[in-house]
């Protein structure tokens, strides 16, 4: 005879498994031996990457921009917790010094011919350039001063908590015109907390925006398309809302469709079939839905940039494999042309499948979505479950 009241293990699953806080699951990959080994193998005197891309100036003129991604100690939020999707810890070294950073700068400068051909320099640090715990103040000052001296518009990235009146006043004295890009990711506190583990709230973002506006600095807002634990349809619904919400406070809105960085929690979800990177069709739809808000009657309220990293690859935003190149190219072109005509005549058989997936995701209680492998043979479409 069994008495249910004597059942001390009150989990529904009788086989008790060890519980962990999400924090530890996010952090776990960093401590895998091969990741530690990889981190320490980086050359501290060379940047993570340096490249040039076409861009628009703040006045809307086509120009070239250099992107310098420095190898740093990484993000202080990662040190204590970290965002669910972030894989930048893979590119960092714990022992990078001021001297190393100067060496990296010099390397970049040499590689890009003293930045002669570019009008804009984006200096990214896998964290916040203006965060003293991550980047020595001397190097912060150097970057601000150097770009000002070169006459290049500087774009830096930052979380919100560094953007205090004091810090911005200091920076502004050195370089009066630069852009601060904030990884807001989502204009929704619940998403920031549960889906992203961002470590700051909308209140903090609004305070930072207020300070940037006060100091007359340009604001770029990064929004994430399809954060972890979110379906494709939900991502589309929410991202449209977020763009409309940040439009007034952003000179530029950059949509970052999720891509799967190795060794991250999202990588684990992806490999287990619990996450699929966005459809390129979703990005097209997103642009179409917000275009008139971003540029009502042709007036540009904010520049909308959609740059799908690893577009067309399984770990980046992708479609069926047949139309990816064409659709991704149209999306990239839109960021520069700001014209919906880029999407005229785009079509593929897979668009109907995408549409149906979105419909189910938006109307059913399927928080992780109903998405299937969009590159599987149609006959094998349903064999995974």
């Amino acid at each position: 005879m069994v008495n249910i009241s004597t059942n001390t293990d009150k989990r529904v699953f009788l086989e008790k498994k060890e519980s962990k806080k999400l924090h530890f699951l996010i952090k776990a990959p960093e401590n895998y031996s091969y990741n530690i080994e990889k981190k320490m193998s980086w050359d501290a005197n060379k940047p993570a990457t340096v490249y040039v891309t076409p861009e628009l100036t703040k006045d809307g003129e086509v120009c070239k921009a250099a992107t310098v991604i420095l190898r740093t100690k990484g993000c202080h939020w990662w040190w204590s917790s970290g965002c669910t999707f972030c894989g930048y810890f893979n590119d960092t070294r714990d022992d990078v010094t001021n001297e190393n950073l100067h060496e990296q700068w010099n390397y970049s400068k040499r590689k890009l011919n003293d930045f002669e051909e570019v009008q804009m320099i984006k200096v990214y640090t896998s964290g916040s350039l203006l965060e003293d715990r991550e980047i020595p103040i001397e190097f912060q000052e150097f970057v601000l001063k150097e770009t000002n001296k070169l006459g290049k518009h500087l774009v830096i990235e930052s979380r919100t908590e560094q953007l205090t009146s004091e810090k911005l006043s200091w920076a502004k004295k050195i370089n009066s015109d630069f852009t601060v890009a904030i990884g807001l990711e989502a204009y929704d506190d619940e998403v920031l907390r549960f889906h992203i583990n961002k470590g700051f709230t909308l209140k903090s973002w609004h305070k930072a925006v207020e300070q940037l506006k006060k100091h007359n600095l340009r604001i770029k807002s990064y929004l994430m398309f399809k954060p972890p634990f979110m379906s494709e349809g939900e991502a589309l619904t929410q991202c449209i809302k977020w763009i409309k919400s940040v439009i007034e406070d952003s000179d530029e809105i950059s949509i970052n469709p999720m891509n799967i960085q190795r060794g991250t929690i999202i990588d684990r979800l992806y490999r287990n079939g619990d996450y699929r990177p966005p459809w390129l069709w979703s990005l097209v739809e997103l642009i179409k839905k917000v275009h008139d808000f971003v540029q009502p009657n042709g007036e540009v309220l904010s520049r909308l940039i959609v740059h799908p990293t690893a577009a067309g690859k399984p770990r980046g935003a992708h479609n069926c494999g047949k139309c990816d190149v064409e659709v991704a190219a149209a999306i990239e072109r839109y960021s520069v042309s700001r014209s919906l005509e880029e999407f005229t005549d785009l079509n593929c058989k897979c668009r109907l499948r995408w549409k149906e997936e979105i419909h189910s995701d938006q109307n059913l209680p399927v928080p992780i979505g109903v998405g299937l492998n969009r590159r599987a043979n149609v006959e094998n479409l349903f064999s995974s479950y």
């Binding site: 009150k10 529904v12 699953f13 939900e234 684990r268 109307n363 209680p365 928080p367 109903v370 149609v378």
Partner: protein, 596 residues
């Protein structure tokens, strides 16, 4: 004895909407939705969502609509007809808070879900693993497994989760959004899922495929006409009707075995489900079945069916031949006609063997061995298998394992093997004499003389069978002490002190007990029991709200002894539902047979 939690109503779901069970087979059930006498719909059924195809209420009795676009989302689940008392307006209307959901990969994450619990329970693997409050919930009316699409990709965890959800919430409808199609609904129903949606068919349609019960296929326009969604709906209708018919005729297992061949994942899930039940030695399987019922064993996967495994396990590890019959073992072939003894071949064997104290065992597949005393029992009296005369390696292993298990416990002096199954001249150290049609009778006669085997009267023979059956089912036969057989075969009566005590009911292979037998059976702890609360006169049958506690060994068809709240034996009933449904289930749990 399991203490039953509080419940709302015998034929009501947790939130008081009309719910009753019209048929069941293991975890698959046909719920009647709405007024019990005139149900509006039956499960398996569909749940529509916004901008979905319009389908009749009897096929799609519910609709799910999202409320707003906030996160995490909320939904309204509405009855599309009058499903709740007083059955006048479309009802029920349930608000459902999905809550934040982590995917199955992160099920070990210690985050408490903020999803709703009642009347609609939002469940995910992570919540099942981490939310300790769920087991003590008031019974929900509907359980939505929100991560089912991802969970189903992990066959073992999926079937384990579904089994636990089904058993924990026996009177709730279960819905796995986005998962079901005509190609997998048979298995999902087998696992206990009741409600389904069109998402999978819509996805197939968008990919230009017709999703059938055999999986997706292209259509032939010249033969089938335009590729309209109505074709997809027809597939749903056909499969739902087939499933309901299969449950009613207790044939769902056979249908599931066909359908799982659609995809490897489904085969995995059925196997894991079988292993899970077998390993948990779950007692929720049927113990008694109607003589008319046929367990069709056409597929090899039937060998992993827990009812088959349970038989082979018990024969191999528990069955001990009667102590008066431990000298001579006679092995016989099975027969197409069941129970074997009514077949022409076995009538001849019985004639040739005579009434002697020897153990007779038939060799068969997939059960392995069927002792003569147990051949009237489910499933030995009910199975049917295609006959080829060929024994494959697994069949040989099952027979040899079962036989060596018996011979480990009992050292027979001789085996006469007339089964056609090759055992050689010696098996487990015991001499084997191979016989055939011509030599069988003579060898039996010879063995009888050489081993000094006694005759046993027909009455003794039958009483031994009753003892063995009782031991097989209940672990003992002490309740037969002091009884004797009266009457004539095959309608034997078991009497005690000249009064009727019990009789063998050959129509469903079970004992029927007289009122006088109940105190004896209670004293011997022979039968499963339940304690029920009575308010005033006790007229009807046993329903879930009456149950205070119950024995977790109750199986469908069992005679259950009924006790009052003050521990007085008050009667007996025939279980209509297995033990897991007695804890807050719905519908009739037992038909009362005797009131003391």
């Amino acid at each position: 004895m399991i203490q039953s939690n509080e419940s709302d109503g015998g034929s009501m779901g947790g939130d008081g909407f009309g719910l009753d069970i019209s048929a069941r087979q293991r975890y698959a059930r046909i719920f009647k939705l709405g007024n019990r006498k005139e149900p509006l719909a039956r499960t398996p059924a569909l749940i529509l969502y916004d901008d979905d195809y319009d389908l009749p209420v009897n096929l799609a009795p519910f609709k799910c609509s999202r409320i707003g676009d906030s996160l995490p989302p909320n939904f309204l689940i509405k009855g599309r007809g009058a499903l709740s008392p007083p059955f006048e307006e479309p009802s029920p209307i349930w608000e459902f808070k999905q809550g934040n959901v982590l995917p199955p990969t992160l099920s070990e994450t210690e985050i408490k879900s903020d999803g709703s619990s009642t009347p609609v329970l939002s469940l995910s693997l992570q919540r099942m693993m981490q939310d300790s409050d769920i087991v003590n919930l008031k019974q929900p009316s509907l359980v939505i497994v929100t991560d089912a699409v991802q969970l189903a990709n992990r066959s073992k965890e999926f079937v384990e989760a579904m089994l636990i959800v089904r058993e924990t919430f026996p009177s709730a409808l279960i819905w796995c959004p986005g998962l079901s199609g005509p190609d997998n609904i048979a298995l999902l129903t087998w696992l206990g899922v009741d409600l389904h949606d069109l998402s999978r068919s819509r996805q197939a349609h968008s990919a230009g495929m017709l999703l059938t019960s055999n999986g997706p296929r292209n259509i032939e326009l010249d033969l089938e006409g335009d590729f309209l969604f109505e074709l997809q709906v027809e597939e749903w209708k056909n499969e739902i009707v087939t499933i309901r018919e299969s449950i009613r005729k207790l044939k769902l297992r056979e249908l599931v075995e066909k359908r799982v061949l659609n995809y490897p994942k489904l085969v995995e899930q059925l196997r894991f489900h079988d292993y899970l039940l077998e390993n948990r030695k779950i007692e929720s399987l049927t113990r008694h079945a109607s003589r008319d019922r046929v367990l069709q064993c056409n597929s090899l996967s039937v060998r992993s069916d827990p009812i088959i495994r349970e038989w082979t396990r018990k024969v191999s590890s528990q069955y001990v031949p009667h102590n008066s019959r431990q000298k001579l073992l006679i092995l016989l072939p099975c027969s197409a006609k069941k129970p074997y003894r009514i077949s022409r071949s076995h009538k001849r064997y019985r004639y040739e063997i005579g009434n002697i104290s020897a153990t007779e065992i038939s060799i068969t597949s997939p059960l392995g061995l069927v002792p003569r005393e147990l051949e009237e029992l489910w499933p030995a009296a009910n199975y049917d298998i295609p006959v080829t005369g060929h024994w494959d390696a697994e069949e040989i292993r099952i027979v040899e394992n079962s036989l060596s298990g018996i011979l480990d416990r009992v050292k027979f002096e001789l085996i006469i093997n007339n089964s056609g199954f090759d055992l050689g001249n010696e098996f487990c150290g015991i001499k084997v004499i191979e016989t055939n049609k011509e030599t069988f009778s003579a060898e039996v006669k010879k063995a009888k003389e050489e081993l000094g085997i006694q005759e046993q009267s027909i009455k003794v023979n039958r009483m031994i069978e009753y003892q063995m059956i009782s031991k097989w089912h209940y672990g003992s036969f002490s309740w037969l002490d002091g009884t004797k057989l009266a009457g004539k075969p095959p309608h034997w009566k078991i009497e005690k002190e000249g009064k009727p005590f019990a009789r063998w009911n050959h129509l469903n292979s079970s004992f029927s007990f007289s009122k006088a037998a109940l105190p004896v059976l209670a004293g011997k702890n022979t039968l499963p029991s339940a304690k029920i609360k009575l308010d005033g006169d006790w007229n009807g049958d046993v329903f879930a709200p009456m149950v205070i506690s119950f024995d977790n060994l109750i199986r469908v068809g069992d005679v259950v002894l009924l006790y009052s709240q003050d521990d007085a034996l008050i009667g007996s009933g025939i279980a209509q539902a297995p033990a897991w449904e007695w804890n807050n289930g719905c519908g009739r749990l037992a038909k009362v047979r005797h009131r003391l």
